[in-house]
């Protein structure tokens, strides 16, 4: 009957209960949505940094990622099966890198050339999805080039145009050769759009006079946020001359952004729920004050203070649970809409490059369990906390004083 009594007490002032419930539902639903969008933004940034260029993990000669020294290469046929044949690894891409001058007619620009196998690279990065003109490299492409939109604009080239690349080769000679523009990508990341060019690995090995050699193997995993632990696990299986770095080591600023995300998330949750909690506290205090006389009667009839406290807490718990159910349903529905459809802001905003990643001009959510569990759990907790003070007040009343209250 205590449960029945609590449930009926909730509905005795329907308007007030519905107003409080709607505040609780809206706050938790919006919080789930906001955290989903926030996670989406973070995921976009992380993806722009890792899935457009770096990969989640990179194997290279020790020190190569610090100075990108052309001579820190290793054989492409080095057996790394112990590392690369893991379940968590979704794809690997062998790469050779070179920096040099790219020219078209009278225009020239410094550029970073990344020699790749097109089929492998597609498993690690997603530049093929950012094409704005032409096509991605074909598997058997001999001298195709896919370059960033900023670089293409500077060189004034389009698909089919010829480019000349000049650099220093490993044997001390001047390496140069012709490329043909296959496609143009635009990621929103100014660094990549203004300098990066993807070329066939064999073509670059030939230009640099580094046959059969690569600088790195980029790896994509199914656990990007767990990349550091994976790197640690795979390290022992590598030859001494090689090292494996996770994206956090290559992009320390991005690692800080991800770390600060959890703090930011808790700050948002705290601020929103303090406001919601005060609203609930107000409602329950009013409800308890209004029923002072009734609590006196209940205690006169033999109800113990602990039972009175439990009854009021049960009321807050029931309201919290009800709000939680509807809040989660609405919040997840809104997040799903934002995940599947989202809002495109490219008409009014341009991409922002920050900490090695790019914040895209779109509102897009991802569904993460923690973004649902944290708001739901906090809502229930705040309901109980907000109910505790009035419940305690009710339990401490002297029946003889309470009964006299009008």
């Amino acid at each position: 009957m205590l449960y029945q009594l609590a449930l009926r007490n909730i509905w005795r002032n329907r308007r007030r209960t519905l107003l409080t419930l709607s505040a609780m539902i809206v706050s938790s639903a919006l919080l789930i949505l906001a955290l989903g969008v926030f996670s989406g933004m973070l995921r976009d940034m992380l993806a722009s940094a890792t899935e457009q260029y770096y990969g989640h993990l990179v194997i290279s000669s020790k020190g190569y990622q610090d100075d990108r020294d052309m001579f820190r290469h290793f054989p492409a046929d080095l057996s790394l099966d112990a590392v690369l044949a893991q379940d968590a690894i979704l794809g690997t891409s062998a790469r050779l890198r070179s920096f040099g001058l790219l020219s078209h007619q009278q225009n020239s620009s410094p550029a970073e050339l990344l020699g790749i196998h097109a089929a492998q690279e597609k498993l690690v990065t997603s530049l093929q999805e950012a094409l704005v003109a032409g096509e991605y490299l074909a598997d058997n492409d001999h001298n195709g080039a896919v370059l960033g939109s900023g670089l293409a604009r500077r060189l004034n080239v389009g698909p089919g145009d010829e480019l000349v690349f000049v650099t220093q080769a490993a044997d001390g000679s001047i390496g140069n050769d012709l490329l043909r523009v296959a496609g143009i990508f635009s990621t929103g990341d100014h660094g990549h759009d203004n300098s990066l060019v993807l070329v066939p690995l064999a073509w670059l090995q030939s230009v640099l006079v580094l046959p059969g050699q690569i600088h790195e193997i980029a790896i994509r995993t199914d656990q990007p946020l767990n990349a550091a632990a994976l790197a640690q696990r795979y390290k022992s299986n590598l030859p001494d001359s090689l090292e494996i770095l996770d994206w956090g080591q290559m992009l320390p600023e991005m690692r800080e952004v991800v770390a600060s995300y959890d703090v930011s998330r808790m700050i948002i949750v705290t601020i929103l729920y303090i406001a919601t909690g005060l609203g609930i506290l107000n409602t329950f205090f009013m409800s308890v004050m209004e029923r002072t006389r009734e609590f006196g009667v209940l205690m006169a009839l033999g109800m113990k203070p602990a039972q009175v406290r439990s009854m009021v807490l049960l009321e807050t718990f029931l309201m919290g649970t009800l709000a939680l159910i509807f809040g989660v349903i609405i919040g997840v529905a809104l997040s799903l809409y934002m995940a599947l459809v989202g809002i495109d802001l490219s008409g009014t905003l341009t991409p922002i490059t920050y900490a090695g990643g790019t914040i895209l001009p779109r509102l897009h959510a991802v569904i993460e369990t923690s973004n649902i569990i944290i708001p739901a759990g906090c809502l229930l907790l705040i309901s109980l906390l907000a109910g505790f003070l009035p419940a305690n007040r009710a339990a401490r009343m002297q029946p003889v004083v309470a009964i006299r209250e009008e």
Partner: protein, 225 residues
């Protein structure tokens, strides 16, 4: 042995910087099965005495004994247990729980005592039949007349078959006909079931029905007839 015994009881309430003596050096003994009224004008200490007997308040000095147990210094939890198991309350303004039906109100104390649902229902059905409340089990208090509400309050007070039923001005909110009916009913319960009733009232009708009238004035015993 007396059911209720007050020995030189004094109750003083603080009122701002002053003190109000509600009951002074008051002694009284009430036996089981009595139908007793504490009579007196407003402020004479009737309600204070009922509160002391009903374990809702504790005396400033003196001793209160209920069913052989000294309750003067008992803890709140013990007092709550005594109220639940030995005392039934009937209030002036009924004080039914508005969100519960008439039957649920009546079985509330039984529920607190942990009595099983079927047993509770049977007891309440029997009481409602005796009190002329048959057919009103599922009505909310707001759908009942004053007289009906007070009958439900009596059912609630009697449900657990307490040692004593305390009624604070039970007819104050009723018209004369409903008051008469209620008093007859309580008298019948007293005579047929041996229930002990202690009233507070200044209503001549209530006083005329009482078998024992304890008159008070300014917190002191004036007469006991």
């Amino acid at each position: 042995m007396a059911l209720i015994e007050l020995q030189s009881v004094t109750k003083i309430y603080p009122l701002g910087n002053q003190e109000v003596v509600a009951v002074k050096d008051f002694s009284l003994t009430i036996d089981a099965g009595e139908f007793c009224v504490l009579a007196g004008p407003s402020g004479s200490g009737k309600t204070t005495l009922l509160n002391l007997i009903g374990c809702l308040d504790q005396p400033t000095s003196g001793d209160v004994w209920l069913d052989g147990q000294n309750i003067t210094q008992a803890e709140q939890k013990t007092l709550a247990d005594i109220r639940l198991n030995k005392i039934g309350f009937i209030f002036q303004s009924y004080n039914l729980i508005p969100v519960l039906t008439a039957a649920e109100n009546a079985e509330f104390t039984l529920m607190l005592m942990g009595i099983e649902k079927n047993q509770r229902r049977n007891r309440v059905r029997q009481l409602f039949a005796e009190l002329g409340l048959g057919g009103l089990e599922n009505r909310k208090p707001s759908d009942l007349s004053g007289g009906q509400q007070q009958r439900v309050a009596i059912a609630r007070a009697m449900a657990a078959q307490p040692a004593v039923i305390l009624a604070d001005e039970p007819t104050a909110s009723l018209d004369s006909q409903a008051s008469e009916e209620l008093l007859e009913l309580m008298k019948r319960l007293n005579e047929e079931q041996g229930a002990t009733f202690v009233f507070s009232s200044h209503d001549p009708l209530v006083i005329s029905h009482a078998k024992r009238v304890v008159r008070l004035l300014d917190g002191r015993l004036v007469s006991d007839q």
